[in-house]
């Protein structure tokens, strides 16, 4: 079991009802953690269209999750 800090942006923040939360998880990768969070908060966007940053760097869904990580979940972007 590891403890990580999760942050949500835009529609994810609205759906989660919070900008961030500490989570205790057994997820091995950030992708697994996303699936946990999406299930709990009802995120509708498919993971392929979303992005994740770990400790302020964009990361792949396969990146290993480490105790103490700060994980940022980004819904589909729409710049411009």
């Amino acid at each position: 079991m590891k403890r990580v800090a999760v942050e949500y942006f835009a529609v994810f923040r609205e759906q989660a009802g919070t900008a961030g939360e500490p989570l205790d998880t057994d997820a091995a990768t950030v992708g697994e953690l996303f699936i946990e969070c999406a299930r709990r908060h009802g995120f509708a966007d498919p993971r392929e269209r979303c992005k994740v940053a770990v400790n302020d760097e964009l990361a792949s869904w396969e990146a290993a999750l480490t105790d103490g990580d700060q994980v940022l979940f980004f819904p589909p972007v729409a710049g411009g």
Partner: protein, 150 residues
């Protein structure tokens, strides 16, 4: 070469001054403006949420890619954050080069990549009082048709 996120109106003339270069024969700009309609709905304004640090980092990565791929002299991109009204400039891209083909291609590359890669989210406000995040599966379902982009 730089990418910035701005919370007050973008000043295209100031950005153009950054790009002055006596070797340049071509200057191409793209401005994204807030339209009064999107997907058939009347829009009254919008809000950009931005993860500034990562947006600047990814934006400068895109500019560096453009400088490596195309024969250009320099390029700049500024993107707004916060609340915007109709016709405001949401994003500005400027490119200078010796010859025009490279400036057109690089400018197009930069805005395409900026829209696809920067951690920026757009919430639209509609005449009927509703609002929705653009490109969001939940919001799209709510008004039952696919999203298109500028």
């Amino acid at each position: 070469m730089h990418c910035r996120i701005e919370t007050s109106p973008i000043d295209p003339d100031a950005l153009k001054s950054c790009l002055r270069d006596v070797r340049a024969g071509a200057f191409v700009t793209f401005e994204g403006w807030v339209r009064d309609h999107n997907e058939g709905r009347a829009v009254t304004g919008l809000h950009y949420e931005v993860h500034e640090r990562l947006a600047v980092k990814e934006g400068e990565r895109i500019l560096a890619e453009a400088l490596a791929r195309y024969e250009i002299l320099d390029a700049v991109c500024h993107h707004r954050a916060g609340d915007l009204t109709l016709s405001e400039v949401a994003v500005w891209v400027g490119v200078v080069s010796r010859h025009r083909a490279a400036a057109f291609e690089a400018c197009r590359y930069i805005i395409d990549e900026v829209k696809a890669r920067l951690p920026i989210w757009k919430k639209e406000f509609y005449v009927d009082g509703e609002s929705g995040w653009v490109n969001c599966a939940g919001c799209a379902a709510a008004h039952d048709h696919a999203h298109e982009r500028v």
